[in-house]
Symmetry: C2
Subunit: 281 residues, 2 copies
């Protein structure tokens, strides 16, 4: 039995999305989902105030009867509690997967930096609302219960990290940022103009000197601008990688969509089925 | 006679805005405006490609017959040429004011870091298009020709820098970023959600430890969100300043509007009329 605790470090979850994921989880006999009531709390922009979101995350991380922590939703806000959360995680959090992406990347990064738990980029509960979202949820549940079929296909034996581009940009130089030297770094973005993508690459490329290389996930839902930018998202990535002497390694199968694949932080490639027990590299 | 050269390091200028500013400049007998033709070039998102924008900026900066460089417009793009531009500026650029804000803050920062010229935050040519924009243009022309009435009112004798919040966030940790230890830092923003403002403050507050204090300019045209953020822009600034042990000093009279005041980088307060000749602190 894999007992998965769910909390919302940023935006609240809708009950109907929790119910839809519970129905899918019935297909997984060895999985038990535990939704923390904080998932549905509301406080301004957030699923409860900082204290409530921090307490819920610690409830999930520090409960020895919980095998994995799954983030309900992104939104914004996990950066406000990440440093404090990681500093208060105890023995029960060690070895425990923490699965999410987008804004929860602040937590993945902070965990990875601190060497706490096993941070993993991949689908969240609220992805059930997307077209084809059931597949994303099944990919997450399969991986959390020991499967390995949802892994991103380009993982190549080098330590890897996957982050939203804006999240990574805001992490750079802060006390949440892990040392990614020697890592393959995958980035993705949603709902940003291409000029903003270019601006973010200007920033991260200078901070990422020394990484093994960069892979570009999907840059989706780019808003229309009053004039074309003049370069594609991949050309932007290639330009800034070249400027900062970072090997550009091609595309990554991650993004704000139902196809978003699983990228364990620091994972070295392992046979399918062993992914859930891979050691941190 | 103050000869002011104008170029566009990011977005192109409209001819009608140049004409409107030329008409206003007729009021200033001792001012001559020289619009570089590059102001009106178009290349994708930009006023000409990187090479064209770089060349025009260097034309203005390195011309000994030019007394000041005034930026036509913000937009996006000055970060792409700033490092190269500053490295190619010669003796004629020394002591010369460079006036702009918003995206051209990348250049102001790079100049200040390199000790080249006198970077100054203040109105640009394209501000003439705003409601009350004539006053903004007159403020800039007055300052460039030796007046001091447009100075931001809170300047208090400590070295100061003023930057757009997003621009500052993207500068942090890069090779364009000046050392702002001991400085009063003023920030302003436009067209960003309050959650994005909070996110940017998370980032900059960690990078600005050691500054003398922060002042908050106007956070304007905040888009409506599907839910209220739960804190005002000033509460956000106060929160993150407290978290990073940065003194919060109150509001600053800068912003993306016609009231945007003049903030010479590093300026110590000087009597009116001497602002144009103030030494860098």
């Amino acid at each position: 039995m894999t007992r998965i605790a769910i909390c919302a470090p940023g935006k609240p979850l809708e009950r109907e999305h929790a119910d839809a994921v519970l129905a899918i989880a019935d297909e997984f006999e060895a999985v038990e989902l535990r939704f923390h009531e904080q998932c549905f709390a509301r406080h301004g922009h957030f699923a409860g105030d900082d204290e409530a979101r921090l307490a819920a995350l610690l409830d999930c991380a520090n409960d020895p009867a919980v095998d994995a922590v799954w983030f309900a939703h992104g939104g914004y806000g996990s950066n406000r509690i990440a440093a404090e959360a990681v500093s208060q995680m105890g023995a029960a959090a060690q070895g425990k997967p923490f699965l999410g992406y987008s804004d929860t990347g602040y937590l993945l990064a902070a965990l990875y930096r601190a060497g706490v738990g096993r941070p993993v980029h991949g689908p969240m509960v609220a992805d059930v609302r997307r077209e084809g979202g059931g597949a994303a949820v099944r990919r997450a549940l399969d991986w959390l219960s020991g499967g390995g079929e949802g892994l991103e296909g380009a993982l190549d034996g080098r330590p890897t990290a996957a982050l939203n581009l804006m999240t990574l940009a805001m992490l750079c130089g802060t006390d949440l940022m892990p040392d990614l030297a020697g890592h393959v770094v995958m980035v993705e973005e949603v709902s940003e103009h291409l000029y903003a993508v270019d601006r973010l690459f200007f920033h991260i490329s200078q901070h990422l000197r020394g990484i093994a290389g960069l892979r570009l996930g999907r840059i989706s839902e780019v808003p229309e601008n009053d004039r074309p930018f003049g370069a594609s998202a991949e050309e932007i990535a290639q330009y800034w990688c070249a400027t900062a002497d970072i090997p550009y390694l091609g595309l990554a199968d991650i993004g704000h969509d139902a196809d978003n694949k699983i990228v364990p932080f620091g994972l070295k490639i392992v046979p399918f089925g062993l992914a859930g027990r891979a050691a941190r590299s």
